[in-house]
Subunit: 385 residues, 2 copies
């Protein structure tokens, strides 16, 4: 019988760890990057058999801080705290959880705001373009460094799901299972279009200065516009109707000026403003390009061929009905290609009206689906051992 | 039997006319505007009974030039030339067509780029905020000026549809019928959100200078970003897959840089670039606000109440299955409220995957629907006479 608890403990106070890989890495573009710093957090305890490690991989603006708090008085816990913790969907009493910050980001791993060892100054646009494949290759270095031969699962939502898929395709022998959530094997042209609008907004900001703005005024306005566009795509028409409708913010009638007056406008303004305090504009450019480039069909000729090397990795694919950025039809295409290769695949389409961001929200359904799948995969592994 | 021709003649070479209304008009905001210039075109001949006049009202970036060409070597005809002309859906052999440019625009009618008579300089942000109601009130002045008592129909797509609806609600005795296409009685919060992103992009451009940029560098980059966002919402996910897919522009492999490389990126770049040559950034701000403000429910308490004064005006409501900016469910809400008032209403939901822009494209179905409806309405009028 399935445990019906949907929320229990916290992993408590955690800290971000750091490791530096000195050896240069050749990227998919042919460029080289190194040394590479990786920030990561871990929760739970690695089993003596080292068979209980779960890699959590994050989305566009995520970081290594997936669960718990850094300080007791932090207002918010890590970005997937609803899912990770003792007794939760990803149960840290059972599993050892690793969450790295992706390269090209700005939260402790090497990215465009890091110091370029060749110049002693921040990389800016001298940072090489990275792909989802490159991001995963760095994660593999971390997993090797931690002495873990096989991951019980790799999971993430959105761009995190792309990394979970890439792990299974690139290193099938290293992952027992993969759980891409609200994800895709390739962005739609519409999603590329939204990413491009965000990039153009940043690059149109005169403070961007071809990426060379560190230590000066940042391209705050451009980055805020990019984030506003992003947030529209993370929600759904239905959830916007429910959350905001056409209500006015703190007023009863139209102001007949250009300040934000609808609640939805204030919400977006707030999201844009909050984002510029915590995220680097150049990282936004690089990471959205990595998303756009990810395309298993282009790389392997077809989705079916992409999964041809995946033999024993089990898949759990989850999508949300109201997600129009990473729509369900893309997850279904993936499931079809997995099935065509005889890969053990479970697919859930969750009925939620929250849009793409649903994967980050507290959902009893997603929690139970993940827990049951992990129980099954872990049980199978231990039976074999 | 319905005439099955879908495309025939052109209205030929036309010219834009101008009229100035000297008397100030009080706007819904309480501000006053005047004198007011209106640019307009007419096609066809007004019947001796003055019973064959059709008012065409345009969308966000439209103008008075709806059909024909200004010069024989113009590359493109007016914006709705597929629909207006001898033997076409709106048959200029039968009907007298009037198309005014809306106030707040930048194509000959008074707008923020016009000279403020009080200062002798362009209005800029001293231009008062206008609403769809104000726009329609100016159109009514034009119709009065032309000596037309009753319009056979008022029709337009998108924001043009809002004006058609507003005509029927504000001046029911003046319109025999109204044909809102791909329109709504109030924008969704998602559509407001997209408008706000466009406005923020313009206002973030340092060349915008609080609207005071005339005679200087224009906020081209901000306006281009706004237009790029707009274009994403005018298409659909399906049409983008069909038109662009994930194809690269003039290259076989990724360039690993930040120039546009997918076809969809080049398309948006082109659209943004073309728009800055023909449209005024301040007009974009004012007109999108007028769209956001339009809300018959807010104004009248409910949609049902909004249509209570409409008695004899017939409605033809048309929406498109793939339009997610002015989605069909909004047209259906309108139809429901019209029906609740016993208003003679015909509704068509056209199956097309082109998204919101479908109303501007050549569609045999839309053409036949409009022609048959106009035949019916005009026949009824003449029977009564």
């Amino acid at each position: 019988m399935s445990d019906t608890r949907t929320k229990t403990g916290s992993v408590g106070i955690v800290e971000t760890k750091h490791v530096t890989f000195d050896q240069e890495m050749e990227l998919e573009s042919g460029a080289k990057l190194g040394p590479i710093d990786v920030a990561y957090e871990t929760y739970g305890t690695l089993s003596p058999a080292k068979d209980n490690a779960i890699l959590i991989v994050h989305a566009l603006s995520g970081d290594a801080h997936a669960a718990g708090k850094h300080h007791p008085d932090d207002k918010k816990p890590g970005w997937w705290d609803v899912m990770i913790g003792p007794g939760k969907g990803i149960d840290t009493d059972k599993y050892f959880v690793i969450c790295p910050n992706n390269i090209a980001g700005c939260k402790g791993s090497t990215g465009p705001s890091s110091t370029n060892p060749r110049t002693g100054k921040p990389y800016g646009l001298d940072f090489p373009m990275v792909t989802v494949g490159d991001i995963v290759n760095v994660q593999k270095r971390l997993v090797d460094h931690l002495g873990i031969g096989q991951l019980l699962t790799v999971t993430g939502g959105s761009m995190g799901g792309m990394q979970a898929i890439q792990w299974a395709v690139a290193y099938p022998e290293r992952v027992v299972s993969a759980i891409p959530i609200a994800s895709t094997c390739r962005l739609s042209p519409q999603a590329i279009a939204f990413n491009e609008v965000g990039r153009r907004a940043i690059m149109a900001d005169p403070n961007w200065r071809e990426g060379d703005y560190y230590g000066k005024d940042i391209p705050a306005q451009g980055l805020a516009v990019a984030r506003m566009v992003g947030h529209i795509t993370y929600l759904s028409d239905e959830s916007m109707h429910r959350k905001f409708g056409r209500r006015l913010q703190d007023r009863d009638s139209y102001g007949y000026d250009f300040s934000p007056e609808f609640e939805i406008e204030s919400y977006l303004e707030h999201q844009g403003h909050a984002f510029i305090k915590r995220f680097d504009a150049n990282s936004y450019l690089y990471i959205t390009k990595a998303m756009d480039y990810f395309d298993l069909e282009r790389e392997h000729g077809s989705l079916e061929k992409a999964f041809a090397q995946v033999a024993d990795t089990r898949f759990l694919v989850v999508s949300f009905t109201s997600d129009w950025l990473f729509p369900s039809y893309q997850s279904k295409e993936m499931v079809k290609a997995l099935n065509a290769n005889g890969i053990d695949t479970t697919y859930f389409e969750i009925e939620m009206d929250y849009g793409h961001d649903a994967f980050l929200l507290e959902s009893g359904e997603l929690l139970v689906i993940l827990r049951d799948f992990l129980d099954s995969v872990y049980g199978e592994i231990r039976d074999r051992e």
